[in-house]
Symmetry: C2
Subunit: 333 residues, 2 copies
């Protein structure tokens, strides 16, 4: 049976990817069952979608409430105001923002990992992009070997800041190469040929909120509130795939071979790790790809027989946002 779907924030970069994923995953809906809500600015605009030409509509609570599933692809303030109201007539809301991720009554879901946590909740939080990409590789290792310590450094794309941030990378890189003045608006510093070791605001403990999201959300998704995990989150001048360098200490001894075995045949994950062919996870191979890539798997020199290093990369807008949400929706139908 076809489902009534609403995408709120449909003209944004994540909203557009949700439409794309609904099509690619053959989700049971069609043009007549799909509502695309946008900001008043884009309302009335026509847009080509895989479901045919459609028109953005200004957000309207009563209409949206009639849906079966609502993808909320907007900021946390909007989500806080409307998420619960949107569920009042029975719709299930999948929220991309961080508004409810740390609310104990709201499940935080990566469908390949903890779909059972949904229960009968009508509001479901989608994880932070860096977390969603990380846990695709971390969870199988956690299940098989146990985790004592996790240390992560990220290489995050500009898409995390939305379309305007991606456009800023492109426009300002052109300025740089033309020898013109490089400025910044979406970023605190110029991004072309630079990196910025700060994403989101600083917390009291010196970590940024982005870094703490990875700690808090991984703990919640795994159901391990004491898991020791630290992250350094760094923006680099790439467009839309996040990469992460990960070092773990496991409870049980681990080897690269046993790790590879644990990471093989996992839905949503591809082992890309061939030294001879120089294959490893990279933004250019992960962009527009559904699977997260994991590679550079090796015994870690510091933690010895209980230590492993690996490198993951995934499309920030897909596994890190839209794909994860649509895969949650698949579990609901």
């Amino acid at each position: 049976m076809l489902k009534n779907i609403a995408i709120i924030g449909a003209s944004g970069v994540v909203g557009k990817e949700v439409i794309h994923c609904l099509d690619q995953l053959n989700f049971p809906t069609d043009k007549d069952h799909l509502m695309l809500f946008s900001s008043p600015r884009s309302a009335g605009e026509k847009v080509e979608t895989p479901f045919g030409e459609m028109t953005y509509t200004a957000f309207d609570l009563a209409s949206a409430q009639e849906s079966d599933i609502i993808f909320l692809c907007v900021d946390g303030d909007f989500a806080k105001e409307y998420a619960h109201k949107l569920t009042e007539k029975g719709a299930t809301v999948i929220d991309q923002s961080s508004a409810f991720r740390y609310d104990e009554s709201v499940p935080l879901v990566v469908p390949e990992i903890n779909v059972e946590s949904i229960g009968d909740s009508k509001l479901i939080a989608n994880p932070n992009c860096t977390t969603a990409i990380l846990v695709m590789a971390l969870y199988p290792l956690y299940k098989k070997f146990g985790l004592e310590k996790v240390i992560i450094s990220t290489y995050q794309a500009t898409s995390g800041g939305g379309l305007a941030a991606m456009n800023e990378l492109e426009a300002e890189t052109k300025n740089y190469l033309a020898g013109e003045k490089v400025s910044c608006d979406k970023f605190a510093h110029p991004i072309p040929f630079n990196l910025i070791p700060q994403i989101d605001t600083f917390q009291e403990n010196g970590y940024t909120k982005e870094e703490m999201k990875v700690t808090w959300e991984t703990q919640k998704i795994f159901g391990e509130p004491d898991l020791r995990l630290s992250c350094t989150a760094v923006r680099i001048p790439t467009f839309r795939a996040h990469a992460e360098s990960v070092t773990i200490e496991t409870t049980q001894p681990i080897t690269p071979a046993s790790a590879r075995e644990a990471l093989s045949n996992i839905s949503g994950l591809e082992v890309v790790d061939d030294q001879e062919k120089l294959k490893y996870p990279m933004p250019i191979t992960c962009t527009h790809k559904f699977d997260v890539e994991v590679g550079r798997i090796r015994q870690n020199l510091v933690f010895g027989k209980n230590g492993l290093d690996f490198f993951v990369c995934g499309d920030q807008l897909l596994r890190g946002a839209a794909l994860n949400a649509v895969k949650i929706a698949e579990k609901l139908v």
Copy 2:
């Protein structure tokens, strides 16, 4: 007294920075005491230097041997063939390549750290760029708190691959932005808006040689052959400053405040760590700068009271190569 200086590989990107550093540090030499040796291809070319217009000369062993100090800014094969011969008439050779770094009879020197290891050696090895930048911040912490574990992920600039690699980043980024085909020559994969988690060749243990250099060289410079240190080395699309995300477990308890104190007033190092003003180490602030920047100093969540996270960035061609070598030379005169 003015010193006779030879720069072998003077037309290369590191050789040019050596000339610049000799001038900036007011090294006791002048145009008449300086020989610029290049490849036969560049020999005869005139070049503007801070010492006046000079001419590149094709390498000639006998002439070079007459120097007091020789900067060897060439590849390892050339160094292996000529380094010892160049010392035969009393010159001291400072080698930028990795040819002798792991030779027990050759000191590996960061002058602010282990200048005493030079002794009466006539051949001195300059460390790998990533190591030289790292140890500027790591050494003061090691001295004050002791080190149990060091885990590093790098963000390395294209300058590590020489001028051709920097040119490839610029040219191929232009191609990308013009919608044209992007290719690669100096790198195994296209570098524009990408990252490559491999620098140098793979070793049997799954680490790359670049990664193992950081382990081996830090152990040698600190005189701690059992120091547990692991590195993940990643090339990113920046021009000439390397950054590194570092997590350490110390022997003694450490706090961000005590770490900041240990890192303050260290020659060659600047603490850049102001959350309110959004100041932290970045390639755009470190490029062409002599000091290495350290920031993002915080108590690490995984190692607790004995754990610290920090982020360093330094000019790969300066502290990572030319500046370190000229500072070694300063200690010799």
